[in-house]
Symmetry: C2
Subunit: 164 residues, 2 copies
């Protein structure tokens, strides 16, 4: 059983342990692979509207996601989410559970749609998963992501109108 | 003759006079139509990598644009620009001149591509102009802009790979 709850201040070390290998890999998120812990905390926890953690029954944090408006003012009814799952917890439905949770949260907060701005085209598992959750690929951005191992690769914009 | 040069600190009052009617209209930019001057200054001048003004021969500021990376780190080779032309200077090629200038600036700064994230679908003049300058419509985002008069309208993502 997975429990998804709002992030609390003392969760940060566990959340950073989940985020760090993903950010360092430079394969799926645009943040500089050498991002410092303080900056990572600012972008993941400080900037968004809300941040959540997905926990095992014993409280171990297996994943985290954050939710924020994708644009200011007249574009702020479309939200953006980022999700990261601990390497050792992959394949257990954690991303899927967080994606569903985030859509309910987004609807509850009055958002009309959810947009992912930079889905790396080589991140096939994620693309398959977001499609399964009703997201459409609305754009291919040629060479928009500098993959740490593969060099410049395309990135996708994915979008879903939410039902309230 | 139009002179496009880097913005200087004492240009701000003239730049704000150009920006304010556009931001207040709520028809083309997502910033809240009641945005305060200090916040507008922070987003237009403070946040971007570089900011420019387009001046008449007598120095009157007719337009302004700003240039910044569209994403951090591994997406920072794609830039984003915003352009605003004074109402009374429209139809005189100011936006076109700034668009060309911004592409040269972007190439000089090492950017590979330029992306516009939220081109309001009802802003037909702008869409026509960006197409003329080689930008492709890569996405339609359904209902992504809350137009102040027309309600929810689609927004476009436009993208151009730059030649260095």
């Amino acid at each position: 059983m997975l429990n998804i709850r709002p992030l609390e201040a003392n969760d940060w070390p566990s959340v950073w342990a989940v985020l760090e290998p993903t950010f360092r890999s430079g394969e799926t998120y645009a943040y500089a692979p050498d991002i410092g812990e303080a900056e990572a905390r600012a972008v993941w926890v400080g900037a968004p509207l809300a941040c959540f953690v997905a926990c095992e029954e014993d409280g171990t944090i297996l994943g985290t996601y954050c939710l924020k408006p994708n644009q200011p003012g007249l574009g702020s009814h479309v939200c953006n989410c980022g999700y990261v799952v601990a390497e050792r917890a992959r394949g257990r439905g954690v991303a899927s559970a967080m994606c569903e949770h985030s859509q309910r949260e987004a609807v509850a907060r009055g958002f009309h749609a959810m947009q992912f701005n930079l889905v790396v085209s080589t991140n096939e598992g994620a693309i398959r998963l977001w499609r399964k959750h009703g997201f459409d690929v609305v754009a291919v951005l040629p060479g928009a992501f500098r993959h740490r191992r593969r060099g410049f690769v395309d990135a996708l914009v994915m979008y879903k109108q939410l039902e309230s």
